[in-house]
């Protein structure tokens, strides 16, 4: 299939992934288990864009707010919207990333890399040090992509397995759960 058609037809894969990741992060208070690595921290924060429908029926809803419970976004989920973009904090070991991930096209926006000695200094005048700095930044970018891909793999393995029905039940409970229990 042509990439243009794939982008349109498989748009939902990335959006379901993001929605699932939000559920996954809340299920255990912000930690998600990566097989072979252990727990990493995935926190959804500040900014979200939800989307519903395609073409003329397409509807978007932007929610943002520092330290907010993102109630509007949760209501959006209840209305059948899926997450299209989210600001995420991801911590693995000593590395903390902040980035916005868009679901449909998998764009990484405003990525803040972990602070390290190498990336904090401006060594661009010395060719050897410049190469070291470049390699360090490449490593950090690749590491982020690797972790996100690993999360995507876990989602898709579940999504294409028999276990998806159970997972879906849990996601539905989560979507319906918080607002009902708080009586909002």
């Amino acid at each position: 299939m042509d990439l243009v058609d794939l982008i349109a037809e498989k748009r939902f894969v990335g959006q379901e992934f993001l929605t699932w990741l939000w559920f996954k992060s809340e299920q255990r208070g912000g930690s998600v288990e990566l097989p072979g690595v252990g727990d990493i921290i995935v926190v959804f924060e500040k900014h979200m864009l939800l989307e519903y429908g395609e073409g003329e029926t397409n509807e978007k809803c932007i929610c943002s707010g520092l330290q907010s419970e993102l109630q509007e976004a949760r209501t959006g989920l209840l209305m059948g919207k899926k997450l299209e973009q989210a600001r995420i904090q991801l911590v693995q070991g000593d590395y903390e990333y902040n980035f916005t991930l868009s679901g449909a096209l998998m764009e990484f926006r405003n990525v803040k890399l972990p602070k390290t000695a190498g990336t904090e200094q401006d060594d661009s005048n010395n060719p050897e040090e410049a190469e070291g700095m470049i390699l360090e930044r490449i490593f950090l970018f690749e590491e982020l992509v690797r972790i996100v891909n690993e999360l995507l793999r876990i989602f898709l393995e579940t999504r294409t397995s028999e276990g998806w029905r159970d997972e879906l039940d849990k996601i539905r409970q989560w979507i319906h759960g918080p607002s009902e229990s708080t009586g909002a």
């Binding site: 939902f12 764009e107 990484f108 190469e131 490449i138 979507i175």
Partner: protein, 201 residues
């Protein structure tokens, strides 16, 4: 921006097609052949080419400065002369008025108007200073993937075309479905092709 400092925005591509056996020599030749040519002192309207990620005035890449380990890091630089429509409109009107006075006619013919507009546009274009735009990329030779540091869709198309012209290699954007195909085994990938959007409520 953002590859070397500050916060970055990027998308990923897979690089499709085979590099020749002496890949590094081939890349070295092509990078230089398609390096950026300055148009500040010419009247060209558009120029596109590769420059160093560290310095947009370095298009000679002494000591193969685009190579970092197993990665090729390049900046795609596009310089373009542009004339803002408002400025063009102003100078065309001015020139039309002058020609009317000169010829002592109340109105100008259509063909003359077209000619004036074209002449004024060329003159203004020559005076315009080329506006540079730069986009960084990082190409992993071992993975055949490329990280392109902008989410501007028009820039993606420019990159895809220019990358193919430079290296005879195709770029394919890594959307979740396409990445998924590479992450899953054959059986799972076949099931992935069959799934439909799920109602999550």
């Amino acid at each position: 921006m953002g590859f070397l400092s500050g916060s970055a925005s990027f998308v990923r591509f897979s690089v499709e097609g085979e590099l020749p056996e002496n890949a590094l020599d081939f890349i070295a030749d092509r990078v230089i052949a398609f390096s950026f040519r300055d148009i500040d002192d010419t009247f060209d309207e558009y120029s596109i080419g590769w420059v160093s990620v560290l310095n947009m005035f370095d298009s000679q890449f002494k000591y193969a400065s685009y190579a970092a380990g197993d990665y090729i890091t390049l900046t795609l630089r596009v310089d373009e002369r542009k004339v803002s429509p408002a400025i063009l409109k102003k100078f065309v009107a001015k020139e039309e008025e002058r020609v009317k006075q000169e010829k002592q006619v109340p109105k100008l013919g259509r063909s003359l108007k077209v000619e004036i507009k074209e002449r004024v546009r060329t003159e203004l274009m020559r005076k315009a200073i080329p506006v540079p735009t730069t986009y960084e990329l990082c190409w992993s030779l071992s993975d055949s993937t490329l990280t392109f540091f902008t989410t501007n869709k028009k820039a993606h198309t420019v990159l895809e075309d220019f990358f193919q012209e430079s290296f005879n290699l195709m770029l394919r954007q890594q959307i979740p479905y396409v990445v998924g195909e590479t992450l899953l085994n054959e059986e799972q990938a076949a099931r992935l092709a069959m799934i439909n959007p799920e109602v999550l409520v």
